[in-house]
């Protein structure tokens, strides 16, 4: 009889654990889905990020006055500069929407771990950034007659975006709660995310001009390391900035 009780308790504990990790993922999914649905209705974020990216690429074109050969060597830099600038737009708006509509407070009241909010926002911000990148890449390829659809490059863009968005989500959550709001995010973000952007540019550049596998894989490993560090640091510190 007692043995049966212990087995029941243990099963219940395991069940609870499974349920809590399932609900953790469910909660994150709920936040991501909410953001995606809202975005697909209004297209607010993606359209502004997209238009901005294209304008930035245009400006770079005029500013750098590139001949075909030089263009090859600066493609990686121009792409990542574009993504970095457009990224701040997305991060800012995404967090501002959250705050203005009172969603953030609502989420904070919900009986979920704070990290759920972090990961939810992280994944939705990442999704928006990746969607914009997916559109910018073919446009850039066409405008500059370079084939940017190499699998290695797509991986680098994914990894770079993860690193950027991980720390960007944390800092955006902070900056949206200050008086200076939008202007502050790039000031906070760019110095900190410099290492990620550097590794991404090196990796992208290496892939585009067919560097040795050793060089490129080194940059990619570095990117992965940064992603891990920044995601970990961001989600651990997120609690401290959404306390009320």
């Amino acid at each position: 009889m007692a043995k049966q009780k212990t087995i029941d308790n243990r099963q219940r504990a395991i069940g609870d654990e499974r349920q809590s990790s399932a609900s953790f993922i469910q909660a994150i999914g709920a936040i991501v889905w909410k953001d995606l649905r809202a975005e697909f209705r209004s297209w607010e974020l993606i359209s502004s990020m997209l238009v901005f990216s294209l304008l930035v690429i245009l400006i770079f074109n005029f500013a750098l006055e590139l001949d075909v050969k030089t263009r090859q060597s600066v493609t990686a830099g121009v792409l990542w500069a574009t993504f970095a600038f457009a990224g701040t737009l997305g991060l800012n708006r995404s967090m501002a929407i959250e705050k203005d509509r009172g969603c953030l407070d609502g989420l904070l009241l919900a009986p979920v771990d704070r990290s759920v909010i972090y990961f939810g926002k992280f994944f939705s911000n990442l999704a928006f950034m990746l969607i914009v990148e997916a559109i910018v890449l073919p446009v850039y390829s066409v405008l500059y007659n370079t084939n940017l659809f190499q699998p290695g490059l797509l991986l680098v863009i994914l990894l770079g975006s993860i690193g950027y968005t991980s720390i960007g989500t944390l800092l955006a959550a902070m900056s949206v709660q200050t008086r200076t709001r939008d202007i502050l995010l790039p000031i906070l973000l760019f110095p900190v995310v410099f290492a990620v952007l550097l590794a991404a540019v090196k990796a992208s550049g290496g892939l585009l001009d067919n560097s040795t596998f050793a060089d490129v894989s080194f940059s990619i490993n570095l990117l992965i390391a940064y992603d891990v560090i920044f995601v970990a640091a961001s989600f651990m510190l997120f609690d401290s900035i959404v306390e009320e």
Partner: protein, 232 residues
Amino acid sequence: MNQKPLALKVLDIVSLILLLAAAYLAIVVAPTEKVMGDVQRVFYFHVGTAWVALIGFVFTAVLSVIYLITKNLKWDRIQVAAVEVSVVFFLITIILGSIWARPAWNTWWTWDPRLTTAAIAELIYIAYFMLRQGIDDPDKRARFGAVYALIGGLSAPITFFAIRLFRTIHPVVIAGANAEAEGNFSMSGDMLSAFFFALFAFTVIFIDLFWNRIRLGEFQNEVEEMKLKASY
């Protein structure tokens, strides 16, 4: 605000004397370096301020952790003081480095790992102040400051190693552009004493300015509290 403690008054005077003494040792006593000439003498103050500022930045990250754990605003005031004085010292470091670079490397600036990271680190800590400026609630200001200082403190060494590692993959081929090669010199006896004395002097000066800045922060806090009371 309380009267300035005697120890601090003494420290003020001692710091000034040490600064002047360090300058004397660096300018008069140390021998002139053969290849670069007198400009090499800025090196003593350059390294002195750099060393102290970098320790200040590391100390800042530690203070972040302490604040986030204890939630005692005293640590926030100490952190602000540490960041402010470190920013000032590091600015001196960067400017002196640039002044030294001009005759030694024929350029005011180069994008080598140390200088790039230095510029980024300085920008991070300036951003720290801009972040704090935009927040009125002292508790929130302290929390956000602590989080950002921690992130910044984490990313600065990461950035340094990133740039450093990439420089070793792509060795610099252009002659004379290797920032490490030119401007090296070995130090003789008098140079070493000027060097270590400058290091010691700046440590003391840092502590003096740091202590003064903490007291200013506490005074600020007192006045803020009085203002709050008066507004009721």
